[in-house]
């Protein structure tokens, strides 16, 4: 019973942070109208659905329908999550010609799951996307001082680690740490505090003040 309550509480915390993140991204999207935010909304919406499935599973209600051999709702959601990670990376690297590659790859992976029980290609795709892309995103985020890329890379990495570990409670805690990191990333926390360039800010401010003084 206590395990059930702990799992339920952790899942609800995850759900709340997920909703908060979606609201923040929606607000930012309406301000900027940048298409990358639509992808992020779809990503967190997929996360939200995944979390709802987990909550219903706790109550022994299975919403996860299976089509064909192994294609299920949760696998489709997982493919959407991997796709958006890869698209975000391609968007960041400006590899415009490859934008649709994740969608095509996911279609064939989904078809593979539909006709055959083997998970080898699905797992390979998950490992490549779940570990290589986050590391590149963190590196790029640090290099270009992009807080959103850095934070999301960190989130993808923590979330991926959580998926891999089979120790009780640890995956759930890692998921919550991950979603908190992502909420901070979309709140521009990393831009404001981690990649904050004090000298640059002072230089701009002094230039601005000297401009005002010169006018006077």
């Amino acid at each position: 019973m206590s395990d059930f309550l702990v799992s339920l509480t952790l899942e609800i915390i995850f759900l709340i942070f997920c909703v908060i993140t979606i609201i923040i991204i929606l607000r930012t999207y309406f301000e900027n109208r940048e298409s990358v935010y639509i992808g992020l909304i779809a990503f967190f919406a997929a996360m939200l659905f995944n979390s709802i499935f987990r909550v219903t599973n706790l109550f022994n209600i299975t919403l996860d329908l299976v089509f064909g051999a192994r294609l299920s709702f949760s696998n489709i959601i997982a493919l959407v999550i991997f796709d958006i990670q890869l698209i975000f990376f391609l968007y960041l690297k400006k590899l415009k010609k490859f934008y649709y590659l994740p969608i095509v790859a996911s279609f064939y992976l989904g078809f593979g799951l539909y006709i055959d029980e083997t998970l080898i290609f699905f797992i390979s795709y998950a490992v490549v996307i779940g570990f290589i892309i986050p590391v590149i995103l963190i590196r790029e985020g640090r290099k270009t001082r992009n807080g959103l890329a850095f934070g999301l890379g960190l989130f993808f990495l923590i979330y991926g680690l959580g998926k891999m570990l089979q120790v009780p409670i640890v995956p759930e805690i890692l998921r919550i740490v991950g979603i908190i990191v992502s909420t901070l990333a979309v709140l521009e926390f990393f831009d404001k505090y981690l990649f904050h360039d004090k000298e640059e800010k002072e230089r701009i401010q002094s230039a601005w003040i000297s401009k005002l003084t010169a006018k006077k």
Binding site: K97, Y100, L101, F107, Y108, F111, G112, I115
Partner: protein
Amino acid sequence: MILQTVDLVEVVANYLGITIIPIMTIILGRKVILERRKINKFNMIRFIIFCIFLTLSWLLMWEFLYESTPLGGVLNYELVKAIYTFSLYSFGIGLMITLSLVMMTYINRWESLYYVPFFIFAGMFIVFLLTEIAIFLIPYIFAGGVIAVVFLFATGLRLKDNSSFGLAIFATLIFPTLMVAEKTIVGQILSLAYPIFGIIFALGYFKLFKADVVE
């Protein structure tokens, strides 16, 4: 009498196709190389057209070997000529459709879609290699062929581009003969018509619109 005429036209069309299309490919290849030397830049549209004709030569060669030579009795139908699964012939048709779609995206400058037809075709081929399932091939060939022809006509008219409009006419003539109508009189007339139009197109005499599109 009619059947005999159809058979005769088929033989003539086969020989005409296998002779003229490779010549056209060589002409186009020469043009690509000469242009590359002249302007020191690769003309992608011309190169894609060359690849389309190279693929066409490949599939006509297998069709000719299977249908018009004694090798037909020796060659495996599944491996060489089958349409419903991946064979040397159907691979060529699929690749030709893919290249036509790539050309369509290239002319319209849809940069994010440039490689999508290749991804789709490669995915289909990988699925086939792993599972021997090729259920997407026929729908892809038909749907891709129709989309490519419609868009090439539309692009040719919109941009007044001779290469896309010429290729659209060529594709309209050739797709029915490759896929369905080969054994009919109409099919045989088309089989004779496409090499004739092809040679006009490859030699650069097809100039429906006065000025060509500058890349």
